[in-house]
Symmetry: C2
Subunit: 623 residues, 2 copies
Amino acid sequence: MTTLGLTHDMTVQELSDLGQQLRVDSVRAADAAGSGHPTSSMSAADLMAVLLARHLHYDFDRPEHPGNDRFILSKGHASPLLYAAYKAAGAISDPELLTFRKAGSRLEGHPTPRLPWVEVATGSLGQGLPVAVGEALAGKRLDHVDYRVWALCGDSELAEGSIWEAAEAAGYEHLDHLTLIVDVNRLGQRGPTRHGHDLDAHARRFAAFGWHTIEIDGHDVDAIDLAFAEAASTAGQPTAILARTLKGKGVAAVENREGWHGKPLADAAEAIDELGGIRDLRVSVQPPPAVRALHVVRDGHLELPAYERGAKVATRDAYGEALTALGTARGDVVALDGEVGDSTRTEFFAKAHPERYFEFYIAEQQLVAAAVGMAARGWKPYAATFAAFLTRAHDFIRMAAVSGSDVNLVGSHAGVAIGQDGPSQMGLEDLAMFRAVQGSTVLYPCDANQTAHLVAELADRPGIGYLRTSRGPTSVIYGPEETFPVGGSKVLRSSDEDRLTIVAAGATVPEALCAAEMLAGEGIAARVIDLYSVKPVDRSTLRTAAERTGCLLTVEDHHEEGGIGDAVLDAFTDGRPVPRLARLAVTALPGSASPNEQLAAAGIDAEAIAASARLLVEHAVVA
Amino acid sequence: MTTLGLTHDMTVQELSDLGQQLRVDSVRAADAAGSGHPTSSMSAADLMAVLLARHLHYDFDRPEHPGNDRFILSKGHASPLLYAAYKAAGAISDPELLTFRKAGSRLEGHPTPRLPWVEVATGSLGQGLPVAVGEALAGKRLDHVDYRVWALCGDSELAEGSIWEAAEAAGYEHLDHLTLIVDVNRLGQRGPTRHGHDLDAHARRFAAFGWHTIEIDGHDVDAIDLAFAEAASTAGQPTAILARTLKGKGVAAVENREGWHGKPLADAAEAIDELGGIRDLRVSVQPPPAVRALHVVRDGHLELPAYERGAKVATRDAYGEALTALGTARGDVVALDGEVGDSTRTEFFAKAHPERYFEFYIAEQQLVAAAVGMAARGWKPYAATFAAFLTRAHDFIRMAAVSGSDVNLVGSHAGVAIGQDGPSQMGLEDLAMFRAVQGSTVLYPCDANQTAHLVAELADRPGIGYLRTSRGPTSVIYGPEETFPVGGSKVLRSSDEDRLTIVAAGATVPEALCAAEMLAGEGIAARVIDLYSVKPVDRSTLRTAAERTGCLLTVEDHHEEGGIGDAVLDAFTDGRPVPRLARLAVTALPGSASPNEQLAAAGIDAEAIAASARLLVEHAVVA
């Protein structure tokens, strides 16, 4: 094993040797693990070698350095290559490299931020570029720092629509400090890609979206070097480098052959020999320039909007107003929207803080990915669209949780209460989707003051935050001085004679209160809980209510699976006695109708609540 | 009001008059409703008039006619235009037109198949074209009928990545009987689109994806007529017609102005005057050619694969083999995959029935949309990818339910049990996602024979079916003669002394059985239920188990929200007494590790089950 310190003026031979080392280390890591993707790593090894040694500016001792370039391995399965590069940069040791994919190792099958140099998890293809767009936008419009963002994609993942949402956004925003490197190795998981080695086919597409394109032989280190330099000096456009490569390059048994995706080489020792043996070249990666972080946090006093009790205000209006106030108090808050800012009310923020507002048009995957990219750069994003359309970004939300990303998402137009627009526009699955996201927070306010407070609560809450807002105006029932901690709830009505508890949130809170009033007239005292914090749920209040009243009736403007009815169960899964339960939710497919007609048709209005409550208190079966 | 019968040789003036009538009727419908999108309808009125009167071949009395052209209004909010066209075609009456958006009306805010001429619901933008690709593929490769598929999109929705997944698939498959009409009216919901009236910008993109493109003035009926004819005569390529239009065309108060999206006109009477008053032109739409439906259903005897008890077989293998057998027995079964057929085992079907196999590369939205399109044409699609990556298509799955689509989706690589690949590849949210879909069926088999039977059970099940499969081999525990009805479960172990019930499914069934064995050695008898039907759930068996054993412990390889633990609650929400409950699920973020290490780390292996069971039977709090 030879150890050689390489600087950025290294020779062509040295760069080629470095590429071979990255291949050898990829083969070794996968061999030690007994699984992994060495051939997908080998195709991109020369691209990575030249990037690391000659173009990347990065301080591995200070991954948080504001001047660092960002590198995102969008083809996350090529993790052996990334880890081999970390070793070449001196960031990890050779023994650690060989812990790849083992329990407890930071070197996971697909990269995650357990490693300090990985800002976002990858492995679901087509996500790296959209997140890179978010980081590049942060650099250009927020940080005002000239770091470059490099994303390395495979050719297979160019089939994902999210790539073209990103291509569109990057071209439109003239992100010339963003470079996409496409490792066109012609072979996907199960066989050839649609376009094989037709670099022109890919280049045509990116050019049509406003990108500068360069086509090269991805194993010619001189050509790679020139391409990276050309990308860096291209003004006004992002650059896509289409690199013709061979999967498994350098080992005849697998090079350019089908059937070798995602598995270690059959004879690693022979392959390592063929690649020139084990090397220990060390690269001295160029440092970032000295820059100042421009996270000017004006942490002035937060003056949330205050609404008078009894006024009629839509919670989406309160969202827009509270976010605007939060943006005034804190310079790190940014807002994003998917071309519905007039509906979600993100437009209020856009008018007050245009420099921190980002329009992503109707492209929800890019919307969420950009929020993840901005959060990775230290910003506090709030991204909004209709609750129904956040389902478009489900895979990005899932992966954001794997990234440990602190991102707040806001879904408006929740439930059947939107009225005439019909089921395509109704968020009826959003609570289920967000509850199942690892480490998420799910909030569903029922009035404007509560909404305003919860917008502020989410600002420093770690993980994925979700706020569900409603379209139509509803009565303000809380005073502006009330507080609403995450994980809490509000008991809106209670007495010692309560015979059941009605648990509601958002649009069903006024219905529950009305039902309780009706029931009181019949001599049935009902407790009413506003479960604004759907996750985490207020176990203690629910348990107390269960003990005192014996039964719970949940009512929600959401499908019956995964929403508030299921959330209540969280309080009762520790083996202690469980109260009798009944739930009301949207079960049939709604059509068009007025908001009140919708609530009645779905069986979640005051009448329906009262009817079920009567059965429940009489120990009858609730149909 | 004038009534005039128009034939397809009508004059330019007559076509223009028809366009005006469609505008007037759009204005009237929205005015009667008090909501809706008249201006978005008015921009496309001339396009619709020429299509209806001169190019569409459709029998409104026989929407199921195999030779009918298909028309999909991708910009579903322009529903007034669609309904106005139906009236012009004599399919609906003028009084029905004015029921638009009212409770009980078939004329919903966004079109749904409650109307017999609407095959798929739209309203979530960017979905119409991908579904049209599925219909066009069905026409070309399955039906072998020359119907044309017409999709009408807005320009805003071209920002959706799903449009480019569709553009890629259509270009690659040379779908020359597919025509996309883009109503480039320059104005989105909240303001101008990225490209305004730059038709070239859109045309460049479609051309790069292999489409023939035509740019026209979308209010010049002659130009429209020529463009449609050119599209119909273009061979080897799909055609995109980029039509420059004005939102609100024809009414000065709103024409080409911002601020008029999604609302009725301020003065409908004046607008109707300006548009030439109310007309009653009737179009005699050209009939489809006489064709034979080619749905050759070979309903031979279904010979499902049979596996020996004790053999080790992955349920994904059983899926591939059972689907192949089903495809042999039934000629209407088609298989689709997202470039992971070697992992999901769809490749078995692809080898046996290549003419009914469709590869969609890594584009899950298009994968699901194509299945919806094929189902609309009467085929029985099974579409597979990793369970984790089906989240990419969540919005399409949600909308497929609104469409009443009969589509089966299969997610492999469920849960932490996949092992080393790590969280990006693990389906841990899929049960929550699919349970919350309206009218869905959710199945999660634990062995190969059960899998094979459930594949067959899904074939004629209405709605969205979901089958969750596992990566690693597991022991076959059922004989091939067992049956597994949807909505059932299997009690794998029971006695009169049972002190608790362990409810498991899929990967946790063997762990539950092992735990029960351990507990038996300690004198604790445990019932074990295999809850293979997660939705609908077997209420009766769960209730009986609850009555007899007093408490239930659920264990699942899924996040704790929305999965099996929550599904069990379905049996206990009718107000009757609820057993004590505890649940085990994946709560922390997994890393890389072997499958067994993963189950142990997540606390869902036999040891963890036994530990919780001990607490539960002793009425202790389960941590």
